[in-house]
Amino acid sequence: MRGPHHVRLAWRLLARDWRAGELRILAAALVIAVGAVTAIGFFSDRLNRAMTYQSADLLGADLRLTGAEPVPAEWIQSAADHGLRHVETLDFASVVVHGDKLQLASIKAAASGYPLRGTLRTAPALYAAETDTGDIPAPGTAWVEARILQALELAIGARIEIGSAAFTVTRVLTYEPGRGGSFFTMAPRVLMHRNDVAATAVVQPGSRVTYSYLFAGADTDLTRYQEWLKTRLGPHHRLFDVRDGGSSIGRALGRAERYLGLTSLLAVLLAGVAIAMGARRYSERHFDTAAMLRCFGATQRDLVRLFVPQFLLLGLVASAAGCALGWLTQEAVFYLLREVYPLRLPAAGLAPVAFGFFTGLLALAGFALPPLMRLRQVPPLRVIRREMAPLPPAAWLVYGSAAVAILILMWRFTGSLLLTAAVLAGSLAAAAVLAAFAGGLLVLSRRVHRRVGVAWRFGMNNLWRRTRTSIGQILAFGLVLMAMAVIALLRTDLLNTWQTQLPPDTPNHFAFNILPQDVAAMQGFFAQHRIPASDLYPMVRGRLTEINGSPVTQAVTKEEDGNEAIRRELNLTWTDTLPSDNRLVRGTWWNNPLPANPVSVEEKLAKKLGIEPGDELTFSIAGSERRARVASIRSVQWDSFHPNFYMIFPPGALDGLPATYLTSFHLAPEQKPLLTELVRAFPAVTVLEMDQVLAQVRTILAQVTAAVELVLLFVLAAGFAVLFAALSASLDERFHEGALLRTLGAGRRQLRAAHFAEFAVLGALAGVLAAIGTELIAWVLYTRAFELEYSFKWPVWILAPLLGGLLIGLAGYIGTRRVVSQSPLTVLREL
């Protein structure tokens, strides 16, 4: 045989096999595997492009400097001297009021010229088409995100209050360069003019405000200015440029990609099993073809050149389809996450497509090649003696090549051989334990065997006859059902349980940015309206810079570097009495006489940073350095919803620094209107409504879990591919059995019932396995991670087996329909 003929012939044979339905399951499994990894690939590629490789458009500038206070005027002058353009913005949280409705918003006050790079996009009305907008809101007006309009039931033209000032809403803000700064944006955005800030009276000394300075200019000017600036930056300043990678968001993204990627590998692994089964069946059904071809004079190499291109072609086509599926899935994920992540994202690159094709071909090579290679070994004498078949491929070859394929893919997601080995070992151990459970369930199911009807008995017999396949399938479906049950619990039960376990008058509102001169009036307001409130704590913003003279960054690992408590400014307070929900773990409370400059540190932060009583801490507060010695370590009950702090100083230690006050209080539902009164009376105060925050958390949780479930759907689909591949492998036997049983007098209905029974029991057992796993995981989550009282999750024990039984029973029923649709005579003649 000569070259081009091989390819043409391979193509024709492939087309014929495809028409005969020989390759559909194999192709479907391949599409699922490639779809799963490319969906994750596209997802992270787009986020990476948006976040890690921040473009100037996303930064709103070439260079951005942020700080808790305004920078000295000479810095700005120097930027101008370096030939840079500059614009200033102010970011702060405040409550937006309309009539008797409130909404916490993230407010940006921008000066004319903002943004320096990229453009704002706005719409003239809710849901209207967005357009590029070259200017910013005129003084006295504000542009708001759609969420504000919805929450406050506003229309364009309505008036809103921010602090002491009122604004007319003139446009809907749809896109803002630089919004990528925070990954999950909780509060919706309001954009106003920089010159209106003073009128709101919201920004006072000590208020939580971020000052941003945006710069743009030529590369060399930027570099020189950055050099000039670096020596002058204080600890609370942060400088971002367009080359700034490896942000905490980037790292969080890396972790998410890793976890989702490993989840998608579960789909690849299951699909791989289906591919291996499909390839085995394909190979066995082509023994006669191979023998015949050998008779015609085809060499072993000819056979390889004939069959391998067929699989290569199939791999390429299926991988392309898988990439398309992955792309669609990723679009769906971003659609689900549209409120959590409102940013418009750049399109994905080609890297995920390349990886998709790589995965498809690797999965084929790893899982399909060993069974396919058997075709080379078919003896030509088989044409005379049909019982002659090639030896099955060696077990080490089958499992070895599959393991190598999975390891290579896993390594791509973990990026480390050690982690790959750990994940693999962990998965193998978990799979072994779960397989033992599945086997146990199978054995237990035999106990009920004698008590059920003949159809069910016959169906269940089929399960036991194919023990290994059955255990594998119970495991696969059990895992998927378990993951879905855990997600369902996370989404609904966990938050509810936590809420119901809070004491009834737990504070449900936080008020911060309370000015010192307003403290007495605020306490009076609470007393007058009988609102139970916590004490008012002073709050000074500062940053922990050194521990015993060494920079904090050296004390934390790279993973912990993302911890907000360390990276960001801390709220420091002072009090003479230990707060009621704090407990001293080590050291002593303010003793008389006090040690010089004492401080009390929260337990978890202390542990993370390795802080011990007696250590010397250095803080950067309002541009000056303060040293303090650790007098005690406290445990804090954070979910008491009383104001709590990482660092507590004794009274007097922070005198002279700009402080605002913080408190929390409980408002009964009927007292809600008082909130508007409070905000109007104290315009600088920012109120956080916990019920709104919780509703927001619920929305985010629902959306994020929906996105994860989408990935799980791939695993479920891969599970079904295994089911159908196994079914297809046993189909000849089932045809034969069914025909024989019918000649013996079994009715079609009985046979159908037996098939349903077989798969329903399989699904129900997978459901029981899922319930066991869910119960265990939920117990750990509730009692260890969230410290909640645990109750038995009985609905899972009913729903998981029921759903599993129905779903898989139905799939099996559909897959075996053909077995009873042909006459027994036809079947027996054909076999």
Binding site: H5, R294, F296, G297, A298, Q300, R301, V383, I384
Partner: protein, 229 residues
Amino acid sequence: MSEHLNGHIVSATGLSKRVGTAEGFLDILSGVNLEIKAGERVAIIGVSGSGKSTLLGLLAGLDSPTAGEVTLAGERLDKLDEDGRARVRAGRVGFVFQNFQLLPGLTALENVMLPLELAGVADAENSARGLLARVGLGERLSHYPRQLSGGEQQRVAMARAFAVNPAILFADEPTGNLDSATGARVIDLLFDLNREHRTTLVLVTHDESLAARCERHIHLDAGRIVKDH
């Protein structure tokens, strides 16, 4: 080609085949010597288990002997590995089997095209169409084997066997799965095609009447040639 030098297309010397069984070794063929001239029509006759099919398999190079020499078309098959023997078969050898051995996923036309495509023949489809018309199945081109009767399937198999115009055709009990009337028609066709293509024919059968249509008869019993006339 060398087969024309001495006039023998197939020859075997001291050909033996021994297989291992649970009870020890079993000699299926022992010391078989024979020579077949090009264009000859030879029937190998014997009862079930006499070693007929094994001899056919060895002569066609589908299997390798335990001892002895086989030459097919001038090539020493016993010196070649399986791939080497396949190369010798390519384009020179045709087969017809008792169980037809059509590929179930291919139509009648595609089954006949297969050896032509493997040999890289440019106009495989037209040749195949012509051959199928010749065996009386010109109207059944797109039918799958399961849609054809036994006799029709065997006619497709013959069209396939003659597609590459082989120098030698091996037929293993070609009427074994057919009723006598259909069998007779199939055999008529086989001999007609054989004449038209001037192919050497090696026919394995236990049917004396079928064997009678060949000019030479080799009788096998317990793996040995007992009569050659």
